[in-house]
């Protein structure tokens, strides 16, 4: 059971998209798991052949680290190599250690007859959490065979979908856990600045006027791209605090905070946001928002963000004081674009302004570097044609 974010402690198998014997390529989606926040397509981080499925789809919530399958030639697939984005800052979870499962043993049945079962079938039934008393044996003298167990597993009804209220409750708990950890462990500092967006918005309006509605850009994409490029200039804000120290990352994967319609939020990654042209970034963002709200994100998108951007200006918020998503090092927040008086060359003019804030981990950087980042962000947004 891979850890797909700092706030994930358990998940459950919804569906296997590969069957035993099938080859698996690196990056290929192998199964779907349900987390507290969404259904996530889990990609393989290795190549091989799916030898054995250890956990069938079902109701059981399993702790992070639970082995789910075996890939031939590659050993036990317990979880992806602990991703920095997923690893706790203080005590990384051992991925290969078989964790304890929730108690699931069936209650003893008074007067139940002794069940004849082969050792391998008993082991498999235990793995699949099947009650042997409910399985009809087809072996000699009614002995339960491995085939009987596999048939019983296949015939088991699919997991009952959680109710919206259940999902909402689990999401709130997950967010609470991650944010409490952030506030407990990360010494935040906050710096902010006001940025004149008149050039950026004028450029955007002109660009969009030439485009079909299906190709238009949102100003939020300019903010994301400018953030990613500014991080190149202050790379110590991009990465994770793990094993007691800050670790920079060369790749800039921007986690985008996306509010979900039923409440709650997720922050999946726009990969290599600094390298993508605006058009590609816009299409990727559209796809990400659509899939986040449909509950079909990929595991890499959940574990890869090296920084988070949140834009709360849509509902009129002027300034964001964000909470860093651990173990990331920073969060960049944007408020509403508001037309206000602004002094330009000694004249007071009406200009569209936005407040940008940086919440950063003081263990990794100081306010001075944060200020340099915001200065770079503001400068980059004055040259939108170069984004």
């Amino acid at each position: 059971m891979p850890k797909l974010g700092a706030d994930m402690t358990e998940g459950r198998v919804v569906e296997w998209l590969k069957q035993p014997g099938e080859p698996i390529a690196r990056g290929e989606v192998v199964l779907v798991i349900e987390t507290d926040k969404a259904n996530v397509e889990v990609e393989s981080w290795t190549e091989g052949r799916l030898e054995k499925i250890l956990v069938a789809p079902g109701d059981e919530w399993l702790p992070v680290g639970t082995p789910l399958a075996v890939i031939a030639g590659e050993g036990v697939v317990a979880a992806p190599p602990p991703s920095p984005a997923a690893a706790p800052a203080t005590a990384p979870a051992p991925a290969a250690k078989p964790p304890e499962r929730r108690p699931a043993a069936p209650p003893p049945r008074a007067g139940a007859e002794r069940v004849h079962v082969s050792p391998i079938a008993r082991k498999r039934a235990d793995e699949l959490k099947l009650d042997l008393a409910t399985i009809v044996g087809t072996g000699s003298d009614g002995r339960i065979t491995l085939d009987d167990v596999e048939r019983a597993a296949a015939a088991r009804p699919a997991a009952k979908p959680a109710t919206p209220a259940d999902k909402q409750q689990r999401m709130r708990e997950a967010i609470a856990a991650a944010m409490a950890r952030s506030k407990r462990e990360i010494p935040h500092y906050y710096v902010g600045t006001t940025i004149d967006l008149s050039k950026a918005l004028a450029w955007l309006a002109a660009a969009n006027a030439k485009r079909s509605v299906t190709e238009r850009l949102l100003y939020g994409v300019l903010l994301i791209k400018a953030t990613a490029l500014a991080l190149r200039e202050v790379p110590e804000l991009n990465g994770f605090f793990v094993n007691g120290r800050a670790e920079r990352r060369a790749a800039i994967h921007v986690g985008v905070a996306i509010s979900l319609r039923g409440g709650g939020l997720v922050a999946p990654a726009l990969l290599d946001a600094d390298k993508q042209p605006l058009d590609a970034l816009m299409r990727a963002l559209q796809d990400l928002v659509q899939r986040a709200r449909a509950g079909s994100l990929r595991s890499s998108e959940m574990t890869e963000p090296t920084v988070t951007v949140t834009n709360l200006g849509e509902r009129g918020v002027e300034t964001v004081y964000g909470v860093i998503y651990p173990p990331q090092l920073a969060l960049v927040g944007f408020g509403a674009v508001v037309e206000r008086p602004w002094v330009v060359g000694g004249e007071v003019l009406a200009r569209p302004l936005i407040n940008a804030t940086l919440s950063a981990d003081h263990r990794a950087t100081d306010g001075h570097r944060g200020a340099i980042f915001l200065d770079a962000l503001a400068r980059l947004l004055q040259e939108p044609e170069k984004l």
């Binding site: 006027a209 509605v213 949102l218 559209q286 928002v289």
Partner: protein, 83 residues
Amino acid sequence: MKNDEIRARVLEVLARIAPELDPAELAPGENLRDQLDVDSMDFLNFVIGLHQAFGVEVPETDYRKLLTLDDCVTYLAAKVKPA
């Protein structure tokens, strides 16, 4: 295309953006963004949906003419070619 048909199609597009939408509870003269809690990405998808449903290209400068359901019907009625 009659206004009732336009309204029904607009509601279909809105339902794709906001699946929890109950057309009976939508006030036709009140702001869609406020009623449905749509953000700029939702609104862009709404405009794309209108484009697909009606073949109408809505320029950004006309977004302010689509604030309410009634606004949308009025705007589209003027743009949609008679069947």
